[in-house]
């Protein structure tokens, strides 16, 4: 893609991200007093907009296509970003989106369902990368051209199993594997660097022989460029996406209590206005 095209695409993806953030807000609002995971959902909206809007090869009419790309995430808290992305790509309807916590619904509890683009049932942190490695191996074995994208939260990097996976992916030379770290600096109890320091993440992944990229995880142009530069890599790639937890709503941004919280009517209205006013 030439630079002008790339910028145009990035602008389209910004608009897509804004729609997704509004949908995510509607989902959160639909839960009433139960509340939802707004913080970790909104931090990865742009990442998923770029993946689903430009990077990943997917066809909702043929969800079982061997050559489709796959996305797995351990952090089920990203549902407020993922389900709107699946809705944008036509895997699920808007009506279903707003019933994401309905008893027995196919989105409830995030069960694996490849038919609607749910490749992996996460929730218990730290395990998705291992499964992604297995899928990347399996796809290579059967000659699939698809890639596997694994999204992890930064707090999730506290889990030891992640590092078992980080150590093994380069050994298996998985050039069809991309790991994305949603680096929003906050886990449930507070600042990751106070709680259990992670930096320097670049150095850590470099030491494990990954191809490392780092960018602003809300800048769709930077994300596009980062993903484009991974094409043709000879091993696994990681993108450390620096993000803001709760991005896009002033009173949610960087506030640990909004990891999971319910919105008041006033908050919902204000959040909606802020998202719509965004560039």
């Amino acid at each position: 893609m030439v630079t002008g095209d790339l910028e145009q695409k990035a602008a389209q993806l910004r608009a897509m991200a804004r729609r997704m953030r509004l949908e995510g807000l509607e989902m959160a609002w639909s839960t009433g007093r139960k509340g939802a995971h707004l913080g970790g959902g909104f931090s990865c909206i742009e990442i998923l907009a770029v993946l689903y809007g430009a990077v990943m090869r997917l066809d909702p009419a043929h969800p079982l296509d061997e050559n489709s790309d796959r996305l797995l995430s351990g952090k089920n808290h990203f549902t407020l970003a993922h389900f709107p992305a699946l809705c944008e790509r036509g895997f699920i309807s808007r009506d279903e989106l707003l019933e994401f916590q309905k008893d027995g619904g196919r989105l409830t509890g995030y069960p694996r369902n490849v038919e609607i683009g749910l490749e992996y049932s996460g929730g218990s942190l730290g395990q998705a990368l291992s499964v992604g490695i297995g899928m990347a191996m399996g796809m290579r074995r059967k000659g699939s051209t698809g890639r596997v994208f694994v999204l992890v939260g930064d707090g999730e990097l506290d889990e030891g199993q992640v590092w078992e996976g980080v150590m093994s992916a380069p050994q298996f030379q998985l050039s069809n594997l991309v790991l994305i770290v949603d680096r929003n600096h906050l886990s449930y109890d507070g600042d990751t660097e106070e709680l259990m320091p992670l930096e320097s993440l670049d150095d850590k992944f470099n030491a494990f022989r990954w191809r490392v990229q780092r960018c602003n995880g809300h800048d769709t142009l930077a994300l596009l460029k980062a993903f484009n530069s991974m094409e043709g890599a000879d091993g696994p790639c990681v993108l450390i996406a620096d993000t803001v937890k709760g991005k896009g709503v002033s009173f949610i941004e960087n506030r640990p209590e909004w990891h999971h919280h319910a919105l008041t009517k006033e908050q919902y209205e204000q959040a909606k206005a802020e998202i719509m006013a965004e560039d």
């Binding site: 499964v131 399996g138 796809m139 059967k142 199993q161 078992e164």
Partner: protein, 326 residues
């Protein structure tokens, strides 16, 4: 391979894992092109070298990272492969239990999990290497088939049968090299079946793994004291063979289960669960580890403390038989 007395002897010298991985695995690999093997740095110890040399690109060395290995196995299965993931039973059923639950059981992934060194055969390595709760943990996982062969020949047959089952299977291999022979002749292995291997009136002893041989010897000793005992091989613990159990419950007044495992949640529990709704049920004696870890020592030393040697089983059942009026 042809089943001859000489081959049965050769398999018994190799033991369950050596036989399963050198014969069952190699035959299954020819029949199932999607089969691949994952190990956590135990290829040499468990006898995977022949497979690795014959199928280098179907062999996946995961290093000492069992949790990652189970996740990789799940991912491979999701892409249509049939991964066989293997390490010590303890590191499967205890260390990687959550990975198995979340990634394999909950998705009914077609992963074959082969555990070695069941029970206390890793005797002096200590409790870390024992597996005396693994049946309970694995049996509790929805959709998980649990197989536990009694000797090396049955281990080969169970391995091959496992590969024909669609869905997750836990194959629990017992003993080390030189596994005593229970089956001196060829037989048909049916997954899901409890198989009678010795006739006898009075007591029905249902055993699994290495305890089948101990139960047979105990039955011989009991016979010398005028107490009849039939012996059954429960090579499949889940799903439990309810039809066979119903027949057994109707045919005797005393049922005994014997397992190299805690009496909580294992074979004895599975038999008790099947018996629970029955009226006029026979007495049930569950022999296994009584909610304890013993002091480490040789396998026989531990079996003796836990009451799992043929002599201890016979003595216990003699008492129980008298109490039951047999």
């Amino acid at each position: 391979m042809r089943i001859t007395p000489a081959n049965i002897k050769a398999l018994s010298l190799l033991g369950q894992k050596g036989s399963a991985f050198n014969y069952g695995l190699l035959e299954a690999a020819d029949e199932h092109p999607g089969l691949c093997v994952l190990t956590a740095d135990l290829a040499l110890l468990t006898g995977l070298d022949r497979f690795r040399r014959k199928f280098p690109d179907r062999f996946i060395q995961c290093g000492i990272a069992e949790q990652n290995m189970m996740g990789i196995a799940a991912g491979l299965a999701m892409e249509g492969a049939m991964p066989v993931a293997t390490t010590y039973c303890s590191f499967i059923a205890v260390r990687a239990l959550e990975q198995i639950r979340q990634n394999i059981s909950s998705t009914h992934a077609n992963v074959k999990i082969v555990g070695t060194f069941a029970g206390v055969v890793a005797a002096k390595s200590g409790i870390s290497h024992w597996a005396t709760e693994d049946i309970a943990f694995m049996r509790a996982l929805p959709g998980m088939t649990v197989l536990s062969p009694c000797d090396a020949l049955e281990a080969v047959k169970a391995f091959k049968a496992m590969c024909d089952i669609d869905g997750p299977v836990y194959l629990r291999l017992s003993g080390s090299v030189s596994c005593p022979v229970v089956n001196h002749d060829d037989f048909e292995f049916k997954p899901g079946a409890i198989r009678k291997i010795r006739d006898g009136d009075g007591i029905a002893i249902i055993a699994t793994g290495l305890m089948v041989k101990e139960a047979l010897d105990a039955a011989d000793a009991l016979e010398g004291k005028g107490i009849g005992a039939a012996v059954y091989d429960a090579a499949t613990i889940k799903p439990i063979d309810r039809a066979a159990l119903d027949e057994i419950f109707k045919s005797c007044r005393l049922v005994a289960t014997v397992e190299e495992h805690t009496v909580i949640g294992g074979l004895g529990s599975a038999v008790a669960e099947a018996m629970a709704p029955m009226r006029n049920a026979p007495a049930l004696v569950m022999i296994g580890f009584e909610d304890c870890y013993t002091r480490p020592g040789s396998q026989r030393y531990i079996w003796d403390i836990a009451g799992l040697t043929a002599e201890r089983i016979a003595a216990r059942l003699e008492d129980e038989a008298r109490r039951a009026g047999i």
